[in-house]
Amino acid sequence: MRDRYLEVWAECGHAHKPHITVLAHVHCAPTSQEAIDHLRQYQPPFQSWVISKKTGVKPEEVELPPRITNFGSPECVIACGSPQQVHDKICQIVELMGADRYIYQGDYGGQPWPKVMGSLERFSDRVLRQLKTLDLAA
């Protein structure tokens, strides 16, 4: 999608520079296993509900692709894991999408509020500053 967007942008000869923002789900726990154990309970029901609303298929009949459910795997698009794993996953997605900005979405799916805020504060302490110094031109 990124390549096609930039290709059409170039064909149109716009004088200004395009910006790309990517938004995705994040859960940052002290360890990888804690993150996976938590999100395994919350991501699939939420994602099935959202897809159900789009498609009309019953939530219990939605088949989720592995890139949404295999937390911690290279193919997974959700930044779920320890602070280092969350950092690395976001860098991977940003590089793939050619994005200049990443948006953290962690407040969803009926998660217990202390878990939502704990992930957010851990991300802020351990990941955010490193991401902000990321040199996208490098």
């Binding site: 990124r2 096609r4 059409v8 790309i20 698009v77 990443y102 805020m117 802020s124 991401l131 902000k132």
Partner: protein
């Protein structure tokens, strides 16, 4: 790289315990989360818009205006403004006002939405969504950049010599992004010279270079 924080404001039971928070509790949580963004170091705050569903945030610009009064630097964006459902004149006024009260921090992310049934509730035809969005974007940008505007379109009544007030702070206007869930939407954004926002859920990591 800039990093932002988003709440789309869904209100769901905890799927493990089955327990629901009340709407008041959920709203209090959403507002705590939004207010935490700037002190924690985020650059952008994003609020969603949904209608008639399990999301309880339907007018993101009001949340953003509330945040604007309590922050100094964080950018304020909608993820997304469902432009086909709204009068583009009103959206232009809303976001010009948000830009004024935030001293130039407003962004508008527009999209057609992912819940086709909402169009019926607004008395609209989902098949016209792309055309409505295109016309809305044209009118939005012209209202922000021109004065004494005379305009005709397919969906909105003609305008004869109008000047939108207030004028936005940012020049030429607050940044606009199109939320693309398909290749066609990304191409449309590029043709219109509009920035792009995509969900990471659409990323195919097997295609990494």
């Amino acid at each position: 790289m800039e990093v932002g924080l988003c709440s789309l404001g869904d209100h769901r039971a905890d799927p493990v315990t089955g327990v629901w928070t009340t709407q008041d509790e959920r709203h209090a949580h959403i507002m705590e989360y939004l207010l935490a963004a700037e002190p924690l170091g985020f650059d952008t705050l994003v609020c969603g818009e949904h209608h008639f569903s399990g999301f309880i945030m339907s007018v993101p610009q009001i949340f953003l205006a509330w945040i604007a009064g309590q922050t100094e630097r964080i950018r304020l964006a909608t993820g997304v403004t469902l432009l086909p459902h709204h009068d583009p004149v009103r959206i232009a006024e809303d976001f010009a006002t948000l830009d004024v009260v935030s001293d130039g921090r407003a962004e508008v992310w527009v999209g057609k939405g992912v819940e086709p049934y909402v169009y019926a509730h607004y008395g609209q035809d989902f098949k016209q969504a792309t055309a409505m969005q295109r016309e809305g974007l044209n009118l939005l940008t012209r209202l922000w950049t021109e004065t004494d505007l005379t305009w005709t379109g397919q969906f909105h009544p003609p305008l004869d010599g109008v000047t939108l007030q207030p004028r936005p702070v940012q020049s030429p206007h607050p940044p606009i992004f199109i939320a693309a869930g398909s290749l066609a939407s990304a191409e449309e954004a590029a043709r219109l010279g509009v920035n792009l926002t995509v969900t990471g859920l659409s990323a195919d990591l097997d295609s990494m270079p």
